[in-house]
């Protein structure tokens, strides 16, 4: 089994004008998805990220503060899961609740450094 990270990219909820009802429904779907992964014993961790961004760029270490409105694709959070391969994670990612809002799931495998003894 390998470790994979599912990274969630897309618009911030705050900028989408969702109603309280929609927010509750989406929250319920996220909650159910998390539960499903937990029950399957594949969830290794995860977090949601606040939309404020401080960006440091270049040799001069130029600092800019950004909000979600200024960034087209903001990373909203991630989950760490164990799975056999990419196909298995792709299957897990079917339940991601925000595809209809233009959300994206990016799957990356966690690099394992082999221990040469």
């Amino acid at each position: 089994m390998k470790e994979f990270m599912m990274i969630f990219v897309g618009a911030d909820y705050a900028d989408l004008g969702l109603s309280p009802e929609e927010l509750q429904n989406r929250m319920g779907k996220w909650f159910a998805w998390g539960n499903k992964m937990e029950a399957a014993g594949i969830l290794r961790g995860g977090n949601a990220l606040n939309p404020q961004i401080r960006r440091i760029v270049g040799e001069n270490r130029t600092v800019t503060d950004l909000t979600s409105a200024e960034v087209k694709e903001i990373i909203g959070g991630y989950y760490l899961v164990v799975a056999k391969d990419f196909d298995a994670v792709q299957e897990i990612a079917q339940d991601f609740p925000d595809y209809d809002l233009g959300g994206t799931v990016e799957i990356r495998e966690v690099t394992v450094f082999e221990d040469h003894k």
Binding site: Y13, A14, G17, L18, S19, P20, E21, E22, L23, Q24, R26, M27, G28, W30, F31, A32, G34, N35, E38, G46, A48, G76, G77
Partner: protein, 419 residues
């Protein structure tokens, strides 16, 4: 971990928080308050993805309170526009406003504000659905079958009127109360009817609107000041109507009239609740239009089959209703009732009192009824002639299909005769 949230918690809570915070900060800050409350739901929707708090409502309440205080602290740094909430006495008073009974009081104040006669009648529904019921602009637009732009304009206009400062955020007292209550009930009934008669494809939205109108009506009944026999009658009426909601549309989304409805789909617990409410409504011998409308709806529900309907009684209730509320649609309905009881002369008597223009956008109902009259009296040619007029004037697509199916039946019957 199971999902502990009750259905619509966020939406219901939105109305509660906006009302309480408006009571604290005043109607002039309504927009800031609505934004702040919305912020708390966004925050909750992310924070609760993995774990929900033990007491979700308390969490939301606290978050809303803090968020508004944050915003006002920021604003206060710029301008001095806020009562000083840090003074301990005020602070205790503010906390008390978040107790259940005070929340309900604040919500009633918001309902009376939203239904205030100073607001344009068309703006009241949108404003009530947004502020009291926590619907988004998009949801209001799809529920009322209007454009989002139109809803935005209505909300803007309502807010502008409110910001003039002449509307007080309170429950009216004394002589003003019955009249203001009437205006509230009118808006609630309109919201209910939007749900009950609307033909949006989404059954869910229809139910939501009906449910919301009933929830707000129950709020009026819960408070001693606003509880009255008329409100009981309105609530009974809503119960009777919504008992039939499931049966009104078949699986292919076609409207079914009373004759075609599968009566086993009627929801009897709602009928019983309606009866209980009706018993309370008639304790006061002075009846309202809602009393009569409820009596009519109850009479329909009493019949086990369509053929068992007591048309004489129904006609009597319509006469009472018309005496109190002389509008053309009641005359038309009385004609329909007479057609059902095969009293064609009387039906004609009613129809002759009307002209198509009396019914404005619903003139197709007038033509449709005339067509039914001529069909019943075996004048098929005239029946088709009027059905065509109905088809020319109908705008709603479901109604149109209904009429088209009728026309096919009519033409078939003439063909049979000729052959």
């Amino acid at each position: 971990m199971e999902n502990k949230l009750i259905d619509h918690l966020f939406r219901y809570h939105s109305g509660k928080m906006v009302s309480v915070l408006t009571r604290i900060f005043g109607l002039s800050h309504l927009e800031t308050i609505e934004d702040a409350v919305q912020d708390t739901f966004i925050k909750a929707s992310v924070a609760w993805r993995q774990q929900q708090p033990e007491n979700p409502e308390a969490w939301l309440t606290k978050a809303a309170k803090n968020r508004v205080l944050d915003i006002f602290r920021k604003l206060k740094a710029e301008k001095n526009l806020l009562p000083n909430l840090q003074q301990s006495r005020d602070f205790i008073a503010v906390n008390e406003l978040f107790l259940d009974a005070e929340i309900e009081d604040a919500q009633l104040r918001m309902i009376f504000t939203a239904c205030h006669p100073d607001l344009d009648p068309r703006d009241r529904i949108s404003f009530a659905l947004k502020t009291v019921s926590g619907f988004s602009i998009k949801e209001i637009a799809s529920a009322l079958l209007t454009k989002e732009e139109t809803v935005k304009k209505r909300l803007f206009r309502a807010r502008k009127t409110i910001q003039k400062g002449t509307i007080q955020f309170h429950i009216p007292q004394g002589k003003a109360l019955p009249q203001r209550l009437e205006s509230v009930m009118e808006v609630l009934y309109l919201i209910f009817n939007e749900g009950f008669h609307s033909n949006t494809q989404e059954q869910l939205i229809r139910k939501e609107l009906c449910g919301e109108a009933m929830r707000l009506c129950q709020m009026l009944l819960k408070n001693e000041l606003t509880r009255s026999s008329v409100v009981y009658a309105l609530f009974a009426l809503m119960c009777f109507h919504s008992a039939r909601l499931e049966a009104k549309i078949n699986s292919s989304n076609e409207i079914l009239d009373l004759k075609q409805q599968d009566r086993s789909l009627w929801h009897f617990p709602l009928v019983q609740l309606g009866n209980t409410m009706m018993n309370k409504a008639v304790l006061d011998p002075e009846y309202s239009c809602y009393h009569y409308e409820a009596a009519i709806a109850a009479e329909h529900l009493r019949a086990e089959h369509f053929d068992d309907t007591n048309w004489t009684k129904i006609l009597y209730w319509y006469e009472c209703l018309y005496a109190m509320q002389p509008i053309p649609i009641h005359i038309l309905t009385m004609a329909v009732v007479c057609l059902q009881s095969l009293d064609f002369d009387k039906a004609k008597h009613y129809l002759e009192q009307l002209e198509a223009s009396d019914l404005e956008q619903r003139s197709y109902l007038y033509y449709g009824t005339l067509s039914d009259y001529y069909y019943a009296t075996k004048n098929i040619e005239k029946a088709i002639e009027y059905l065509d007029l109905a088809l020319q004037t109908v705008t709603n697509s479901l109604e149109k299909e209904h009429l088209q199916r009728k026309r096919i039946t009519l033409t078939n019957s003439t063909l049979k005769r000729k052959s």
